[in-house]
């Protein structure tokens, strides 16, 4: 019964999120009892959240995508340079997302046609794309303060009533779309079966190759969108911009309850978990703990929650738990 409750998309992660907020309200009341820290979360979380939505789908299919930091950088650069040189906004937006999509498409082709496991292939593509962006941009940084004040800026990353970040609404809409895609669309169902059991997926007539290429293209497009939102928010581009997301995005996906074995994904869990990662970072610092500790704690929470999720899914898949259970039965 309890297990069933925890299998509801996002339920257990939401509980952890609320507990975490309560803890930080006690340890860092000056920050967590005011509204401003939450506004700041809602301004900074949307880009990694949107990437994590795509990676959630990738994980559902039993694959991995580690190339997104470079895709974010590429999309940011394309957006920034088009705006700076040609003064276009929406065209720059669409070009940036299209570039992300194209990079994802290439990732998908490399994985399916060369048969390289996606973890390794996308790690290689992280370097390949990253290197390419640095070469094409000549290693420069861009500052585009003029984007501030454009219609596009206020529509995508403006502040409602001067405080509420609009990008949060876009991120939630994307989350809704991805949830529908995974849970209500035949594409999502195909991904679920591919990740659950590739042999079965083939037997029932699912074209796994085509679906995986589409999947990586979608993941690339979402990273591209995240790159644009990030550049709009910071009004700047630099090459290592996406690198900071590597840990937080992957942690968000698996803390959120998506199976590390494939075949099951929790979109709402990913949304909460993306916040958890950011809240831990900010909360620890606000509680007076040295900043250096934050990564240690995120890593710790990551391991802990992935284990907990695996136990909820199937206790026998965790060797330690299996050993303890057999010992208990014997004793």
């Amino acid at each position: 019964m309890l297990r069933r409750l925890f299998q509801i998309d996002g339920a257990s992660v939401a509980v952890v999120f609320v507990l975490l907020i309560i803890v930080f309200m006690i340890t860092a009341p000056q920050a967590f009892l005011g509204y401003r820290v939450y506004m700041s979360f809602m301004a900074t979380v949307p880009p990694p959240l949107i990437i994590a939505l795509g990676v959630t789908l990738v994980a559902v299919a039993g694959e991995m995508d580690l190339s997104f930091p470079s895709v974010v950088a590429a999309a940011s650069y394309v957006f920034g340079i088009l705006f700076q040189e040609w003064d276009v906004t929406w065209l720059a937006f669409f070009c940036a997302v299209a570039v992300g999509c194209a990079m994802g498409l290439v990732n998908g082709l490399v994985i399916t046609l060369l048969g390289i496991p996606s973890l390794i292939a996308t790690l290689a593509m992280l370097f390949l794309w990253g290197g390419l962006v640095t070469v094409l941009s000549g290693g420069i940084q861009l500052a585009i303060p003029d984007i501030y004040g454009t219609t596009m800026h206020s529509l995508l990353v403006g502040r409602i009533g001067g405080v509420f970040p609009v990008q949060m609404i876009w991120a939630l809409l994307m989350a809704g779309f991805i949830w529908m895609l995974l849970n209500r669309h035949r594409f999502g169902e195909n991904l679920l079966f591919i990740g659950d059991n590739l042999e079965v997926a083939r037997m029932v007539g699912i074209d796994a190759t085509r679906e995986k290429i589409k999947l990586f293209a979608l993941s690339g497009a979402l990273s591209g969108l995240a790159g644009v939102l990030l550049t709009l928010e910071t009004t700047a581009y630099f090459a290592s911009q996406g690198m900071g997301y590597l840990l937080t995005v992957i942690a968000a996906v698996f803390i959120g309850g998506t199976s590390i074995f494939g075949g099951s994904g929790k979109v709402i869990g990913t949304v909460f978990a993306a916040f958890i990662v950011t809240v831990i970072e900010a909360g620890l610092v606000a509680s007076g703990i040295q900043g250096f500790w934050t990564r240690f704690f995120i890593g710790f929470v990551f391991i802990l929650s992935v284990t907990a999720n695996a136990v909820i899914e199937d206790p026998d898949k965790v060797p330690l738990v299996r050993m303890l259970r057999t010992k208990l039965r014997k004793g």
């Binding site: 209500r184 669309h185 035949r186 594409f187 169902e189 079966f193 659950d196 059991n197 037997m203 029932v204």
Partner: protein, 260 residues
């Protein structure tokens, strides 16, 4: 459709290079009958099934489905599905983490024009297949239960139910009771009976002679690529059947002795 057989094989043979797997097989599978296919490993059972279900093409002979002559250049598993022939494989073809309602429809979900699945309709039909078509009575099982939570026999039931829902006239069961507990076997045998009750036919491949004799209308025995018996199950008692198979086996041993 009347009395026309669903499948008719005429002098069908299959050779893989110099190895002859099937020789001169002529048989019919009628409508609404359960046919047991018996034979040792290497007797040609799976080759015969592969030809009927479109996986392999025969080297000689003709195949007719509902009287229509089959042109092997465009016969495939897909085409067999269109001609309402379905296979339920030994290792069941189900996604264990996915709920029953997805497993019933995977590969051909009910969707709207945009490709969104009509979940409520799929659940309703799944419910109907479970309760009415295959007579599921497992406690605590509903359409949202992941298939991994079902027993081996129940999983076979889901696979059989799926095959029946997609309006197949002939369902091929490839050793569905392998590695099942006795109580589970009984469930599967009931699912097989429900195939007949629903007016369809079934080719049932099985090692356990007792099960075959219990549920089948007709028995077909293959031995080293040849058809050696094709009779009504009623015409032979269980002991007569086992005696026949034992004699067949002893015959081989005699031959090998002579040869050596």
């Amino acid at each position: 459709m009347g009395d026309q057989p669903i499948v008719r094989l005429e002098n069908v043979g299959k050779a893989y290079g110099p190895v002859v797997s099937l020789q001169d097989i002529t048989l019919e599978i009628g409508s609404n009958e359960i046919v047991g296919l018996i034979g040792d490993n290497g007797a040609g059972k799976s080759t015969l099934i592969k030809i009927v279900t479109g996986v392999e093409t025969p080297t000689t002979g003709e195949v007719y489905i509902r009287g229509e002559h089959i042109n092997f250049s465009n016969y495939s598993v897909q085409r067999a599905h269109e001609l309402r022939i379905e296979t339920v494989h030994q290792t069941s073809s189900l996604g264990t983490k996915q709920p029953l309602w997805r497993n019933f429809f995977v590969g051909r979900p009910i969707t709207n024009a945009l490709g969104f699945i009509k979940v409520r309709e799929q659940k309703r039909i799944s419910e109907q297949i479970m309760r009415e078509t295959i007579g599921f009575r497992g406690a605590g099982i509903d359409v949202d239960t992941p298939v991994g939570r079902l027993s081996g026999g129940e999983r076979q039931g889901v696979a059989i139910g799926r095959a029946m829902h997609f309006e197949s006239d002939l369902i091929v069961l490839d050793e569905p009771t392998v590695a099942l507990a006795l109580s589970e076997v009984e469930k599967v045998l009931n699912f097989i009976r429900s195939i007949k009750e629903n007016g369809r036919s079934c080719i049932y491949i099985e090692h356990n002679i007792h099960h075959v004799h219990e549920v089948c209308d007709r028995l077909i025995v293959l031995d080293r690529g040849r058809l050696v018996l094709d009779c009504e199950a009623k015409a032979m008692s269980y002991t007569e059947l086992t005696d026949f198979l034992r004699n067949l086996h002893q015959g081989h041993e005699g031959e090998t002795k002579v040869a050596s």
